[in-house]
């Protein structure tokens, strides 16, 4: 992918990155900063990237990890937009809607980073487990294991019933 192709692709892909960063980090300014950093990284690696679905998956993956790192640095939990009524800024998984923001913070603090990454794909993006595997580069079995760990942590914290 050339630099010019990347700049051309920015308008469409930029919206994806900004929306997700704002959604995870919880405010527009942080979302903006994170988006810029992600596209700078993208620019540095544009020779290795291919336009199309691969680029979209790469941006999802890099964006998720960068935002999770920032949340960790800030010692903050995931900023869930559960209160948001703007379409596209809501949690997309029914299971997540059962949890309030503080509960989700506790849940994210109780699991390891790769499990948090899977949680973002499931709960923020509403992906299927097959999509999570595709975007994250994990195997199907790894994704299933992370989902099991996430749910076990939620049950342990009393956030979900045993049957959830």
């Amino acid at each position: 992918m050339t630099r010019d192709e990347l700049i051309d692709a920015y308008r469409g892909f930029g919206a994806v990155v900004f929306r997700r960063c704002r959604q995870i980090l919880g405010n527009e300014q942080d979302g903006r900063d994170a988006s810029q950093e992600i596209f700078e990284r993208c620019l540095r690696r544009c020779d290795e990237l291919r336009p199309g679905p691969e680029l979209l998956a790469w941006l999802y993956r890099v964006g998720t990890n960068l935002c999770l790192d920032r949340l960790r640095t800030q010692r903050a939990g995931l900023h869930t937009p559960l209160h948001e009524d703007v379409p596209g800024l809501e949690w997309r998984h029914d299971e997540a809607r059962m949890l309030d923001r503080d509960s989700l913070r506790r849940l994210f603090a109780a699991v390891e980073k790769r499990t948090r990454e899977v949680a973002v794909y499931l709960y923020v993006d509403g992906m299927t487990q097959e999509e999570v595997a595709k975007v994250s580069g994990m195997t199907d079995r790894s994704v299933r294991n992370h989902v099991a760990r996430l749910r076990a942590a939620a049950v342990r914290l009393g956030l979900l019933g045993e049957t959830a």
Binding site: R3, I7, Y10, R11, G12, F13, G14, A15, V16, F18, R19, R20, R32, S35, Q36, F39, E40, L43, G52, P53, L56, A57, Y60, V86, P87, G88, L89, E90, R92, H93, D94, Y121, V124, D125, G126, M127, T128, E131, V135
Partner: protein, 238 residues
């Protein structure tokens, strides 16, 4: 959106024209249609969010990479020369450097210790000392670890005195197995005309290892002192 709706990843791919699979669902789903419309607003909002810096002119790039190449060539040459000389950097308190070389055996592989190398527990080292002065006949070697503790290598006996210098090209007798003490290891090698004994020079070695000068009485005995500071990695070698 319900659990039956496509993920935002699938809808993004659809919106960007990368995957038409969700088309049938979107056509009949008011929520997904609204979600997609909202993305148009986000897109307009971020249109000028990221303005990449212009590309530098090709000529500048050429010279930048040429300069980088020259720097790399210089550094590589310096490293090769250091390796070829098979010496580690030394600090001497007096006179010409006692030319000390250290061979390291790690997991069966033996190599000369270079400036980029480290030590770790279970490494074995052998020390080669070139005679800086024809009158030099004895050597005493110790090492002060990161906690400031002195380990006596040659001789091992805390009451012992310098060992005879072996002929040129021969290592000191026996290898030293590195323990798990915290790093770095600050090896001090004292080469002298006459034997030096640990009870009288131990404190001076400990202080010299951490930066103090050698005391005047040792300097007056024409002692050549060399210090090698070698980084140490925690845990055993892989």
């Amino acid at each position: 959106m319900s659990k039956d709706c496509p993920s935002s990843f699938a809808l993004d791919a659809y919106r960007l024209g990368l995957d038409r699979t969700p088309a049938a669902h979107v056509a009949g789903c008011a929520r997904c249609t609204a979600w997609l419309a909202a993305q148009e607003q986000v897109e307009a909002k971020v249109a000028h969010l990221w303005v990449p810096a212009p590309s530098p002119p090709r000529r500048r790039n050429f010279w930048r990479f040429t300069r980088l190449g020259l720097h790399l060539a210089t550094v590589t040459t310096a490293v090769l020369l250091l390796v070829a000389r098979r010496r580690v950097p030394t600090e001497t308190a007096k006179g010409p450097a006692a030319l000390v070389q250290v061979a390291r055996s790690r997991a069966g592989a033996v190599s000369w210790l270079s400036p980029a190398d480290d030590l770790t527990a279970e490494d074995a080292i052998r020390i080669f000392v070139n005679r800086p002065d024809a009158a030099d006949r004895y050597v005493l070697v110790g090492s002060v670890d990161g906690s400031g503790a002195l380990a006596r290598f040659y001789p091992v006996d805390g009451q012992g005195c310098s060992v005879p210098l072996p002929p040129a090209g021969q290592p000191l007798d026996g290898s030293i197995v590195i323990d798990e003490a915290p790093g770095p290891e600050r090896l001090v090698i004292l080469v002298s005309h006459d034997p030096l004994c640990w009870p009288s020079v131990g404190d001076a070695v400990r202080r010299f290892a951490v930066g103090a000068p050698l005391p005047a009485d040792l300097l007056s005995q024409d002692v050549h002192a060399t210090k090698l500071v070698v980084p140490k990695r925690a845990g055993a070698a892989p």
